[in-house]
Amino acid sequence: MRGVEWRKRVAMATYQEFIQQNEDRDGVRFSWNLWPSSRLEATRLVVPVSCLFTPLKERPDLPPVQYEPVLCSRANCKAVLNPLCQVDYRAKIWACNFCFQRNPFPPSYAGISDVNQPAELMPQFSTIEYIVQRGPPNPLIFLYVVDTCLEEEDLQALKESLQMSLSLLPPNALVGLITFGRMVQVHELSCEGIAKSYVFRGTKELSSKQIQEMLGLTNPSASGPQGRPAAPQDPAVTCRFLQPVHKVDMNLTDLLGELQRDPWPVPQGKRPLRSTGIALSIAVGLLEGTFPNTGARVMMFMGGPPTQGPGMVVGDELKTPIRSWHDITKDNARHLKKATKYYDALANRAAVNGHSIDIYACALDQTGLLEMKCLSNLTGGHIAMGDSFNTSLFKQTFQRVFSKDHNGEFRMAFGGTLEVSTSRELKVSGAIGPCVSLKAKGPCISENEVGVGGTTQWKICSLSPSTTLALYFEVVNQHNAPIPQGGRGAVQFVTQYQHSNTQRRIRVTTVARNWADAQSQIQHIESSFDQEASAVIMARLGVFRAESEEGPDVLRWLDRQLIRLCQKFGQFNKDDPTSFKLSESLSLYPQFMFHLRRSPFLQVFNNSPDECSYYRHHFVRQDLTQSLIMIQPILYSYSFHGPPEPVLLDSGSILPDRILLMDTFFQLVIYHGETIAQWRKAGYQEQPEYENFKHLLVAPVDDAQEILQTRFPMPRYIDTEHGGSQARFLLSKVNPSQTHNNLYSWGQETGAPILTDDVSLQVFMDHLKKLAVSSAA
């Protein structure tokens, strides 16, 4: 939270409020808050017109309305009535602000007048939420897919977590259990007496139909003689594997309690055989057959990489290590392509049916997230990565999946679709986030595809209040086609989803920005630049590219973009680097880029492929604040000299008499300076006369706790000190302004040298300036 404040402080004053207000109300942050009026100008701005959109941003102050939205009657528009529409109260007609179609109000709006407006016409309801009644409410579904090839301790911890989670589930939610090891077991929950389960071989790929047949779900007599083939079946009856929590609570608790480790012997020098791929395909197949298009969450808990069957990531020979970046670049990862393809197909199937897949992977080594990431990325599922199920990191994270908001409702939504409408001058290029394309055709699709494009609708199988998509637009207005005076470009986001209380809801956000002529109003445009949002938006683009391109290429692309941006907006004399200046609205942007270049999202050095996948997974879904923390971690300094203060993420900030608290989103590091560490070791804090020291020690811990309480996933909490091995987490993040290379020239006083050959921010900036001002560029 401190970070946010701090950030606000640095943001540009005039636009800051506007931006903040927009974000709070609509969950939208645009890269530019004034839009260049032509395609040509837009491309010259380097950073595209784009936004970060948080569809379900928490709006405690926004009561949903209990009626259906009014839609534009034009078939290919269907925009929702919003405050930007022109309304003729007398004629009871409104004009769509996207297609200019004039629509009559529906009969229920008969009493409308300029003093009696429906909520959706009021300016403060640029974001509004409708509750709609469509079909019977669908229960939420939680299907646990549990790896049993775990150490006894881990399994025990996991079992306890799972049992605990039963009490957190909504009572009417359906729950199911699949366990796997060498075999895959689908547990039947409805039976009394003997516990039944269906067992599948872990090596054989089965079609969804076969799975359903083998589970006895295709009951020919079900459709019956009455000839109602697809008659609405009572799900509780048709599927013995998914039962309401309140019914099978006890049963399931016992069942989980009796779960045993996979009994098959694991010979020396082998990995346990883990049929993760099949387990998932059965989970997907089971839901596909029983609850298509219903919100469901497959929660997979795995303690190691898949070692057999389709989707296998590594063989069971321990002597063959799991693929590393090195193997991948050398094209030496045997299973990579096949496995990725397999999980990709599964993910798409799940996404089509609106089911999301969570992966909770706890192991010391990699578990194959690289191959499996798409499962979560495409379906909006979570990925949590830890060392063991017996850590608070996992336990808390898992528990937080079921956290509730102020209304006591789960912070999760299912089966979301996001539809974007734009006014004519604008088209949609694509989206980057935890979504899949619905391949909806419409008039406002840009040919220029960015991220997941070619559509105006995306499916987001699972949403949380922080789920954020980056949306990219293209200004299509030709240079010579003037924008009408006072005309504004508008974008409407329509998000339909299944609320955790099983209601169907539609949230509509309509925003508009002024057009500006880049020729004449370049300063205005420059000052409307949201460098934070832009940094995240560009970073997402970079990460998206990194998935398919070589790392260095992506960096080069990022650099070029940065240089071009600086060339466009910097003030300088040609070929004079020292004259280079950036306005306040862009001043932080290069620094973000500097840290982004060093971040694990783009740098694979020191990160395993799994870790990269994990980091990227979270990066492309978190909201702006969190994303920024990921790009440039926050560093606070605690000392006797005053209250805690944010300090530069720089090696110069590492001082002996300070305690540092660094939040990288994924890690929380408390670093005790050399002196402090010695004091602490000496136990001064225990002595009453040094109570102030004790307070100093406690302060960062308290602050860290605050962050730990709310962050999802739970960050790794690291308490270290000068010279401690875990100090590397800090040292790898800070700007290496002092290294063994320049240590002596910088004098002894300041900070700690970092043993690295990485360039420091200063060197980076020097180069940037040089290139920006170079006439050759």
């Binding site: 075999m183 003997i194 516990a195 269906y198 054989k204 006895g216 009994p263």
Partner: protein, 1106 residues
């Protein structure tokens, strides 16, 4: 036509010591027996003649009368009977009991001597027999002439006819009586007349050939016209339709060909032709006799249809010819059934002679007592006959001799046979870490045949003569006779059977074996649940699990158990002791079976008792409402196999299965039952497995030591032939309970199950038979698998399983050394110990055929023949199989006749003493459901019996083919009443009989049984109140009832399968089933009666000889 011959038929059983054995009486027919005259008393002249001719000869008169009686199924075969009747009386010297013979003769009437005529009668026989009686022969004819008169009368006499017909099948007693008593003339005439109609032949060629005709045959060769009335040629015209079939018979090519002879063809089936030999051919008169037997013997599988048509009741059809030939005599020579070799007599004799003294095995080449005899065995260096029985205890020195004799050289080995309590089971010998001492070259195990030399430092192998060093730890000095001093202390040096403890070298993967496991697979499809099977099995298992096999009765069994239920998916159960409730794991991916769990599937019964009981309680409930009707089968076995693989142990699977596995899965079967194929060349396809799937599977099972026992509860066709492949290849058993009904079949099933679970057995066994140089084991029969030509691999080997080994010469044998065989079975005991059981057997070698014939064992030969024949069915048309059998037996007997018997008339049938029962037993084999199925025998039944027989030992096959029929008269005292022969005519209307077939027990109650008897047995004095559905006798408190139940119990305990008791009331419908087992009679499916067959046999032999 004339009639016949005089006696041409002598059955002489030659005993080794020449005729002496005949002691009873002259075995030779020729010797007139006083008895005969008596019988035939009615017509003195005739009889006398016959008597003179041969003791056995049938007086023409009486015989004829009998003839009709014989008629097989009245409907179709009347003609046949006629034919038989005509047949000259066989003089069965056999008459060991001349005495008995005489009295019994009256009955014989029913069994006309008819056959003779066909077979041998005609040609030479006449002459030969005559020698002694030469004159008489002629007499008969004259006598016959008188009869001629009657014929006409007979025709009109419809009633008489009908009676005759009825007799055969039904009530013999009356018939008999009538004949003897009944005015001889008319009756007989009537009967005869029938035959003469032989003219009938016209219409019905072959069949009709009346006995009379046979005689005709004789004339050809012999001038002895007197004897024969040369027949009315008419007969000739009748070409036997059946001929074609018969021709197909596998008779020796030479003789067979003869048929071309005109005369012959007319009347005789090819076989006959052969038999008659050339001389007859020319004779026109021969037309005659077609012999009923044809159908039975060689005739194709579908016996009934063809014959029926052809055969008309001669009596019923007035034939013009008959009238034409009034003068002609139709004689029917009957063979007195009592005069032909009687199994009962042989059994009783053996019992009387051999049961008192223990049988010591020390003497090489000694024939053991019969399997029906109770005797004690003392092992003195050769394996007990309970372990090994040979077909011959003197085997020919050369391959030529063996080939000439055609006597099969085989051993029926039951390696793990249970011994009676008074005999010690084989000792276990431990030769220490180095393992058993063996010959270096042939690897034979140390045994009494190893000759120690060089002061005991080395030994010479008795099998291959290789000299091997004695390992130091085994060294022992020799005494003055060259025997080791410790000879008597070491079982392997002094006994025929013993066991070695095997070392790790003898184990799979060089790892000591795990204790075996038992896995129970219960079909829970609709049919299985509904029949009550599931319930019964689950109930029973709860207690049965306490009786798993163990070696030490005090200790708990180390056998682990597992449970699976299935319909079209499999449900495995985790019954780990730590669980509060069993867990069910369903595997629906049957196309690729695997074991879903490891821990908790195979458990120790005591540890998991509570969970197991809970499971067994719940299984019936869980599936009580099942609607699933489809089942799988292949995956079930695969699952068991996987389980054993995972547990790395051998074991046994118990499958309780109800229906044809039609669910989509590997090993899926289709209903291919097609009765139309029976009798065609495609018949074998019904017996072959549908697909190769199960044989491949069984290969894998054997490799793992996975033995499969299958309990079938079918309501319809389940394709036993295919389902049985795995059990049969893995040393398992198949039990079949068709139309299983809980109330009726519960006892039988449970007793089978109990015994099957408890019986001692070995697992993962390999058996090898080593022989001394000169012979070699070439063929094996039984329930096992062979991947090479020498090793018999048995996934499981229980105490009832028998392996039959056939030996062939590959060199000359020496009379001095004899022939040795050593059967070594390596197996894992039920406690998980690896053992080697060794059986040694030494037999003599002979250069004289007579020695061979003197030391044969017919029961064992029959056992071998039947196994051989049953197996041949897989590849050979049934008819060919049957013909081959007949032919081989004929060759055996012909060889004897030619080489060993004292010269005598060709009309005499001379049988070696040891083999005098060969014909009757062979007939039983030929008539068995497998080789000659009746219309009511299902394809499944045949396959089932076929598989069942493949591993039967001699005593089981004996009773299987020749059931034991006990009259329940006086049951006091400890001994059993003497059995009677399996013929309807032996049954008295007033009696109650117990019939044991090895699979069933029948209690036949005569319609006139005494009230007291009924009260004693059933508790009701009234015949009509006896409930034919009872499966056990009421427990009444009277000595008779007690004793009877004791007998039944003791019978049951002697058999490896529980015999269900069926009460059959005379003239009840169920009687047909019962009659099926009266194997000396004609069978409904067309099987020949004993007498008929004997005649046929005789003819075959004669054909060979000529």
């Amino acid at each position: 036509m004339f009639v016949c011959v005089l006696s041409c038929f002598c059955v002489r059983v030659s005993r080794p010591p020449v005729c002496q054995p005949y002691s009873h009486g002259a075995m030779n027919l020729s010797g007139p027996h006083p008895s005969y005259p008596q019988q035939y008393g009615v017509q003195p002249s005739m009889q006398q003649m016959t008597n003179q001719m041969s003791g056995m000869q049938v007086g023409s008169g009486p015989l004829t009368s009998a003839g009709p009686g014989y008629a097989p199924p009245p409907s179709s075969e009347p003609p046949i009977s006629a034919a038989y009747s005509a047949a000259a009386p066989p003089s069965y010297t056999q008459a060991p009991h001349p005495v008995s013979g005489a009295p019994s003769q009256p009955p014989p009437p029913s069994e006309p001597a008819a056959p003779q005529p066909y077979y041998d009668g005609p040609p030479p026989s006449q002459q030969q027999p005559f020698p002694s009686s030469a004159p008489p022969p002629s007499q008969p004819f004259p006598s016959s002439s008188p009869y001629s008169g009657p014929p006409p009368s007979s025709q009109p006499r419809a009633p008489a006819v009908s009676r005759q017909q009825s007799f055969p099948p039904g009530p013999p007693p009356p018939v008999q009586q009538t004949f003897p008593n009944s005015a001889p003339p008319p009756v007989s005439q009537a009967l005869y007349s029938g035959p003469p109609p032989s003219s009938q032949p016209g219409p019905f060629p072959p069949t009709f050939a009346s006995p009379a005709q046979y005689p005709a045959a004789q004339p050809p060769s012999q001038p002895g016209p007197p004897h024969f009335h040369s027949g009315p040629p008419p007969q000739c015209p009748m070409p036997p339709p059946s001929m074609s079939q018969q021709q197909a018979n596998p008779l020796p090519p030479g003789p067979m060909q003869q048929p071309p002879q005109p005369g012959m063809q007319g009347g005789y089936p090819t076989q006959q032709n052969g038999a008659f030999g050339q001389p007859r051919g020319p004779q026109p008169g021969y037309a005659g006799p077609q012999y009923p037997g044809q159908q039975n013997y060689g005739a194709g599988p579908a016996p009934t249809p063809a014959p029926t048509q052809k055969r008309l009741d001669p009596d019923s059809i007035p034939s013009p010819q008959a009238s034409e030939l009034p003068a002609v005599q139709k004689f029917r020579h009957r063979i007195d059934p009592d005069a032909i070799p009687s199994p009962i007599q042989v059994i009783e004799d053996d019992r009387a002679n051999k049961s008192s003294e223990p049988f010591t095995t020390g003497v090489k080449g000694q024939t053991p007592p019969l399997v029906t005899t109770n005797f004690q065995v003392k092992d003195q260096g050769n394996a007990s006959p309970r372990f090994v029985r040979c077909t011959a205890y003197n085997i020919p020195c050369t391959a030529d001799m063996a080939k000439q004799s055609q006597v099969p050289l085989a051993a029926v080995i039951k390696p793990l046979a249970m011994l009676p309590p008074d005999e010690t089971r084989p000792y276990v010998v431990d030769h220490g870490e180095a393992g058993p001492i063996r010959c270096n070259r042939c690897k034979a195990y140390m045994c009494p045949y190893m000759q120690f030399i060089e002061g005991g430092r080395r030994f010479q192998c008795g099998f291959c003569s290789c000299v091997t060093d004695v390992p130091p730890h085994y060294f022992q000095h020799l005494d003055h006779t060259g025997k080791r001093v410790d000879c008597c202390d070491r079982p392997e040096l002094s006994l025929g059977s013993y066991e070695f403890v095997a070392t790790v070298d003898y184990c799979k993967n060089n790892k000591l074996p795990q204790p075996p496991s038992f896995i129970f697979f219960i079909d829970v499809s609709y049919n299985a649940v509904k029949s009550g099977m599931v319930n019964i099995v689950c109930q029973e298992l709860k207690t049965l699990l306490d009786y798993l096999p163990r070696e030490n009765p005090e200790a708990d069994s180390v056998v682990r158990v597992g449970f699976v239920t299935y319909n079209k998916v499999l449900h495995f159960y985790n019954v780990k002791s730590s669980l509060a409730q069993p867990q069910m794991m369903v595997v629906s991916d049957v196309s690729d079976m695997f074991l879903p769990l490891l821990d908790g599937f195979l458990v120790n019964v005591n540890d998991s008792r509570v969970v197991i009981e809970s499971l067994l309680d719940q299984i019936p409930e869980m599936f009580a409402d099942t609607r699933e009707t489809e089942t799988v089968f292949g995956p079930v076995i695969q699952a068991g196999l996987e389980a054993l693989k995972a547990a790395d142990c051998a074991g046994k699977l118990f499958l309780f299965h109800s229906s044809l596995p039609i669910a989509e899965a590997p090993g899926k079967l289709k209903n291919r039952e097609d009765k139309k194929l029976v009798g065609t060349d495609k018949e074998k396809s019904l017996i072959q497995p549908q697909s190769g799937f199960y044989s491949n599977l069984s290969k894998e099972c054997v490799a793992q030591g996975c033995c499969v026992d299958l309990f079938l509860f079918p309501n319809q066709y389940v394709d036993v032939a295919t389902l049985g492949v795995v059990p049969v290849s893995t040393g398992g058993s198949v039990y079949k309970y068709t139309y299983f009904q809980a109330e009726m079949d519960r006892e039988r099933f449970l007793n089978d199950l109990r015994r099957d679970v408890q019986k001692p057995m070995g697992f993962d066994a390999v058996m090898r038979v080593r022989t001394s140089t000169g012979i070699r084991a070439t063929d094996f029969f039984g329930s096992f698998f062979m991947s090479n030509t020498t090793d018999v691999e048995l996934a499981g080997l229980d105490c009832d399983k028998t392996v039959t080994v056939e030996f062939r010469h590959d060199d000359k044998l020496s009379e001095d050394t004899g022939a040795l065989m050593q059967c070594a079975v390596l197996y894992t005991s039920c406690s998980g110990q690896r053992r080697l059981r060794v059986h040694n057997m030494a037999v003599n070698c002979c250069s004289q055929l007579a020695d061979l014939y003197r030391n044969c064992e017919t029961d064992t030969i029959i056992n071998f023949f039947s196994k051989y024949a049953y197996r041949s069915l897989l590849n050979t048309p049934t008819k060919t199989v049957r013909d081959t059998l007949v032919n081989q037996c004929a060759q055996i007997l012909a060889c004897y006749r030619k080489n060993c018997a004292s010269p005598s008339s060709a009309g005499q049938l001379i049988l070696p003493e040891c083999m005098k029962l060969l014909p009757v037993y062979l007939n039983c084999v030929l008539k068995s459901d497998v080789l000659q199925p009746g219309a009511d025998v299902s394809v499944d039944d045949r396959a089932y019996l076929r598989q069942l027989l493949s591993c039967m030992d001699v005593s089981e096959s004996h009773v299987f083919f020749y059931p034991r029929l006990l009259p329940l008269v006086k049951l006091d005292g400890g001994s059993l009443p003497m059995a009677v022969r399996n013929s309807e005519e032996r049954l008295s209307k007033g009696g109650v009989y117990l019939l044991e077939t090895g699979l069933y027990l029948f209690l036949w109650v005569g319609a006139n049984a005494q009230q007291e008897l009924l009260s004693n047995i059933f508790g009701t004095p009234t015949f009509s109140q006896i409930d034919p559905n009872m499966t056990s006798l009421p427990e009444l408190d009277n000595p008779f009832s007690q004793r009877l139940r004791e007998i039944i119990d003791s019978f049951r305990s002697q058999r490896s399968r529980y015999m269900k008791l069926m009460v059959v009331k005379q003239e009840d419908k169920a009687e047909l089933i019962f009659k099926h087992f009266l194997c000396e009679d004609k069978s409904a499916s067309g099987g020949a009666s004993y007498v008929d067959f004997l005649c046929h046999m005789h003819k075959e032999i004669r054909q060979l000889l000529s």
